[in-house]
């Protein structure tokens, strides 16, 4: 039986278990529900959980493991000529077997031993499914009967069920930790393989980035060099331009909206600004490449400047627009968090509104504003689509905003889109870049958190 059908059957069975458990509880109570420890529903849930959970555990464990186990068996039965192959050739053989199974290859032009192996695989797999069906259904039925037998007025069904619920809740929140561990492990693991081929020192301090790998040994000028500095400089350049746009515009709009604007103006303008944050980044990228970059190029031509059609300026400018609402809403929060008494104190001393803002409110809100800026920087560094579409691909070590530069995220995309093989430094370099990106943004986020915690004024 297919695992999917099995899954639905299992659910149906446990629904039946719920019905049986409830009925059993009512029978046992002899019609007087108050003699039961828990409400009748909980006895139903109790039986249903016993029926479903262990069986589901078996089912998912099987699905995770069966392919690998069966493959080991099949490979062990292959003729010795295959078994002693080196790792990469062996995985080619495995691919041939998989293709045979999927019917993508005619059996005629392959080694009969492999055809036999594929057949063997198929048999083992279907045998496995049969065993799984028997195991899961028998297990579920046995657990169901056992749980149903245990029902008595004294059984603390609610507490049992609630324990399971609590564990499920805990597990879902632990998922966040698993995600982080997953990110760190998967990225780190591949990055380490990259650093086996390229020394970390060359990566961190190298001044040249050209990830093309020679296809032939005698090819000229394509040895591949993985110096990360040009990418870092490009990223920081674009981030600096973006912040130069977003920081003043965002901060001033936040100040105006939270201090000067009437409630009605604020109610209209604030959501409009937030629309900027809701627009997908790919749209900004298109806008940058299609409208802003040509406009900048023509404008520069009139001034006698040569602006590349993929310039850091265009990408940075558009990214800055994207970040404005981010900066303004964080600054807004920080400003509103300053207590009224400070404001009124300043007015009482005769300060104008502008003087109150520059002299009292902004300094008081500074930790919040600084941490907001740092978060905005980390967002700009990690932003991908705008730079992919508007910044350029060639890694140049330049600080000229009119030139085209490339960034960490652009390189990750260009290294990983298209054909990939997981043992070339070219592909693995993307993971090294991903690791650096993760570390940089994580560092910025932690610093932002620290700034808020340490320097926040306590007004009580």
């Amino acid at each position: 039986m297919q695992p999917q059908t099995l899954f639905w059957l299992l659910l149906a069975l446990s629904a039946y278990g719920y019905y049986l458990g409830r009925k059993q509880a009512l029978t046992v109570s002899g019609g007087k529900i108050r003699t039961l420890h828990s409400l009748p529903d909980y006895y139903g849930y109790y039986v249903a959980l016993w029926c479903a959970l262990p069986a589901l555990a078996i089912l998912s464990l099987w699905l995770l493991l069966d392919d690998k186990l069966i493959l080991q068996w099949v490979l062990a039965e292959l003729p010795p000529a295959y078994r002693n192959l080196p790792q990469d050739r062996l995985s080619l053989t495995v691919n041939v077997i998989y293709n045979l199974l999927a019917g993508e290859r005619q059996a005629g032009d392959v080694d009969p031993a492999l055809v036999q192996a594929a057949e063997h695989y198929r048999q083992l797999k279907s045998l496995g499914y049969q065993a799984l069906t028997v195991l899961v259904l028998a297990g579920a039925t046995a657990a169901l009967t056992w749980a149903r037998r245990r029902i008595s007025p004294k059984l603390r069904a609610r507490n049992r069920v609630e324990t399971v619920i609590r564990i499920a809740l805990l597990l879902s929140s632990v998922l966040a930790i698993f995600t982080t561990i997953g990110i760190v492990l998967s990225v780190l693991f591949e990055a380490l393989r990259f650093f086996e081929m390229v020394s970390p020192l060359e990566f961190l301090f190298g001044l040249k980035w050209s990830p093309q790998i020679a296809l032939r040994a005698d090819q000229v000028g394509a040895s591949g060099s993985f110096g990360f500095i040009p990418l870092l400089v490009g990223t920081l350049l674009i981030t600096a331009i973006a912040m130069a746009v977003a920081a003043p515009l965002g901060l001033l709009s936040a100040v105006y909206l939270s201090e000067f604007a009437r409630t009605r103006t604020r109610a209209i303008v604030k959501p409009l600004l937030e629309v900027l944050a809701g627009i997908p980044t790919v749209v900004y990228g298109f806008f940058a490449a299609l409208v802003v970059a040509p406009w900048l190029r023509d404008f520069g031509a009139q001034l006698g400047l040569t602006i590349s059609s993929e310039s850091a300026l265009a990408a940075g400018l558009v990214m800055g627009i994207m970040i404005i609402p981010f900066v303004s809403s964080l600054a807004d929060d920080a400003l509103t968090a300053v207590p009224r008494s400070l404001r009124e104190g300043a007015y009482g001393l005769g300060a104008t509104q502008a003087e109150t803002i520059t002299g009292v409110l902004l300094p008081a809100a500074l930790p919040g504003i600084v941490s907001g800026m740092l978060l905005a920087v980390s967002r700009a560094i990690g932003e991908t689509m705008i730079v992919v579409m508007a910044a350029g691909m060639t890694a140049k070590l330049t600080l000229n905003p009119l030139d085209s530069v490339t960034t960490i995220t652009v390189q990750i995309v260009s290294l990983l889109v298209g054909d990939q093989e997981f043992d070339s430094p070219k592909t693995l370099a993307a993971f090294a870049l991903g690791l650096t990106l993760f570390v940089i943004t994580l560092g910025l986020n932690l610093v932002a958190l620290h700034v808020v915690r340490k320097y926040r004024e306590q007004y009580e």
Binding site: L170, T180, S378, V388, V417
Partner: protein, 423 residues
């Protein structure tokens, strides 16, 4: 004393000016930001709206029984339908003789014309043997001409259309054999190399499937995690703090890193198939989960403690209190947060590039395990295409994406307005 007053008065004009200036800085900042927004939206709309119309050419095709009988799909797949279309075009313009001009003539209609002919014959087998007037999809250059993208005054060598081609089109126009119609192909077709045939069907379905997966996973998991952290987790516990910090940090991790995670874990370890909505949805789930958890916790915090005390007071267990009383009250807020998180996931592109959703796919996916692409990825792909016709397609796809996002955000706002409670 008097002296101080003098000083203050002397400085007053200056201080007032500063005040006004400061206000104006704020206004200008807001004006500039909103002007950018207006520029962005108008430039995309102005480029995109024309893609919702499509040029069609009326051609009198002789449905030759020698080619078309029997009218079954298998037979028509073998028949020379292109030849019939070409013949019809030659008969419409008998003056065209040279080979080069003939080739230019055939290009007036799209390469999809034979398929239109096939569909017509399958639907009207009784018309075989007659000559019928069919409205065929025009080629991309004709479409561009009809929509006014051509500068006819430019030197002939720099134009995509030669003078004689323009003369043909003018003649067709006079004879009312050239028209602009609502572009249903744009919604029905998958990706194509020919701009006039390219549509968003595959991307739209892929996006919808991905949103279903993301919602089905991130909503229950997010609620469960928020309930644990807000209602059951012990206070001042190192592990709980660790989970909290982790969730906040994940919300700020660049989306492309989630793409790397999806690539390494779902494709690498679990061996799930590439380019599928399932993997895309799983990756986006991990990305949106922190947002959903944070929003759900805020919704739980907004439920006043008196509700909990009342429930506990009449003998409900903590789990019953949460599931029977607190959660129903917090659910609208949680749903709002989830919709906003989903709207962000819908526009996300970078992680999907990592898991191979950039593939060129023509057939709409029928399930979660069929290769598909997503709306923002389709936009990215078309934005890269050099053909001129793709600019308007890209803009039109963006308009659709923005409309979707608008609907989702509107739903979130309405939900919040409608279900908001004041305690």
């Amino acid at each position: 004393m008097n002296n101080t007053l003098e000083t203050v008065r002397a400085g007053l004009a200056h201080r007032r000016r500063r005040e006004t200036r400061f206000r104006w800085y704020g206004r200008i900042a807001i004006f500039v930001s909103l002007a950018f927004l207006a520029l962005l939206l108008t430039s995309i709309f102005a480029r995109g709206y024309k893609a919702f119309w499509q040029t069609e050419i009326a051609v009198d095709v002789h449905l030759d029984p020698g080619e078309l009988v029997p009218p079954t799909p298998e037979h028509l797949a073998q028949a020379d339908l292109t030849g019939l279309v070409k013949r019809a075009l030659r008969e419409a313009f008998p003056a065209v003789k040279s080979r080069r001009q003939k080739r230019a003539l055939y290009r007036l209609v799209s390469s999809a014309a034979p398929y239109q002919l096939r569909d017509y014959v399958l639907a009207h087998p009784q018309a075989i043997g007659r000559t019928v007037r069919l409205w065929l999809l025009a080629g991309a250059d004709v479409d561009m001409y009809m929509k006014g993208y051509f500068d006819a005054s430019a030197p002939e060598s720099e134009r995509r259309l030669k003078d004689y081609q323009i003369a043909w089109l003018e003649r067709l126009k006079r004879e009312n054999r050239l028209r602009l119609r609502f572009n249903r192909w744009f919604f029905l077709n998958g990706d194509s190399r020919e701009p006039e045939q390219a549509g968003i069907q595959v991307a739209l379905r892929g996006s919808i499937y991905m949103m279903l997966v993301t919602f089905a996973l991130s909503f229950p998991l997010g609620i469960a995690a928020a309930v644990y952290l807000e209602e059951f987790a012990p206070r001042n516990n190192v592990w709980v703090d660790l989970i909290e910090i982790n969730i906040n940090n994940l919300a700020a991790v660049p989306s492309i890193v989630f793409g790397l995670l999806g690539l390494a874990v779902f494709l690498g370890w679990f061996g799930l198939p590439r380019s599928t909505p399932l993997v895309g949805g799983l990756t986006l789930t991990l990305m949106t989960l922190p947002t959903v958890i944070i929003a759900s916790r805020a919704a739980l915090k907004a439920v006043p403690p008196s509700i909990r005390y009342a429930a506990l007071g009449i003998g409900a267990s903590p789990v019953q209190t949460v599931f029977h009383h607190v959660l129903p009250l917090a659910l609208p807020g949680m749903l709002t947060g989830a919709i906003i998180g989903m709207a962000r996931a819908l526009g996300e592109t970078a992680p999907l590039l990592m898991i191979g959703m950039v593939a060129f796919i023509v057939d709409p996916p029928r399930g979660l395990l069929d290769p598909a692409t997503a709306l923002p990825v389709q936009i990215y792909l078309w934005a890269d295409s050099p053909e001129r016709g793709f600019v308007e397609r890209t803009s039109a796809a963006i308009v659709i994406l923005l409309v979707f996002l608008g609907i989702m955000n509107l739903a979130a706002i309405l939900l919040r307005k409608r279900l908001e409670r004041r305690w």
